[in-house]
């Protein structure tokens, strides 16, 4: 079964810490189990999204990069 992404967040061209801040705000609007997809270009975001998920309990399901754009899929706890 595929769970559809509830929301997509374009955080490209935002510098640290805005991708995480926008993600935290977007996650507030979701219910437990829903997925958020984020695109970012901040090179620190790979470690930041992993750390944010680890400390907040949300799950980082996917973290990859294509053509200089990082893509993250998070599941709200």
């Amino acid at each position: 079964m595929t769970i559809e992404t509830a929301q997509t967040l374009d955080a490209r061209h935002l510098s640290c810490p805005m991708p995480i801040i926008k993600t935290a705000i977007a996650m507030k609007g979701l219910v437990s189990g829903q997925l958020l997809e984020v695109r970012a270009t901040d090179p620190g975001s790979v470690k930041d999204f992993a750390a944010w998920a680890q400390t907040t309990g949300n799950v980082l399901l996917e973290s990859n990069v294509q053509d200089g754009v990082y893509r993250f899929v998070l599941r709200k706890k």
Binding site: S15, C16, M18, I21, A24, I25
Partner: protein, 138 residues
């Protein structure tokens, strides 16, 4: 992560204000309460409407190249330190208090302060709020 983070913001140059705002927003994003204590020139930067009317000021080590780099990032749409603090307050437990000694020093009253400032406190109240958490001096 609910261990509090206390920041004594002493400096009023835009680069240090930005650094403090970034640290605050990052801590707020992972659920850490942040208590900011505004002292001296850090407090002066929080005069009401100061963000709109003053020129960019940087620490001396920035030099001309540093100034150009900061201006370029701002022109590319980087959130200002003030916007970053607003966002931090929107997502987390962030309190900004003015040091009462610095209020006297700068001849300020609470009505002179930016709405981001939650109130005025003395150093004892600051240390109580900091409790056993980390303290960062900027």
């Amino acid at each position: 992560m609910d261990e509090p983070l206390a920041i004594t913001l002493f400096s009023g140059t835009d680069d240090k204000l930005q650094a403090a705002a970034v640290l605050t927003a990052g801590a707020a994003a992972i659920g850490r309460p942040v208590h900011i204590f505004l002292q001296y020139w850090g407090l002066e930067a929080f005069r009401r409407n100061s963000a709109e009317c003053r020129e960019t000021r940087l620490a001396p080590e920035a030099g001309a190249a540093g100034f150009a780099a900061v201006e370029a990032l701002a022109a590319a749409g980087q959130a200002s330190w003030r916007e970053t603090l607003e966002q931090a307050k929107a997502i987390g437990d962030v309190e900004i208090q003015a040091c009462s000694l610095s209020m006297d020093l700068l001849h300020l009253t609470e009505s002179d302060l930016d709405p981001l400032v939650d109130g005025v406190e003395g150093v004892t109240a600051f240390w109580l709020a900091a409790s056993s958490g980390q303290v960062v001096f900027i």
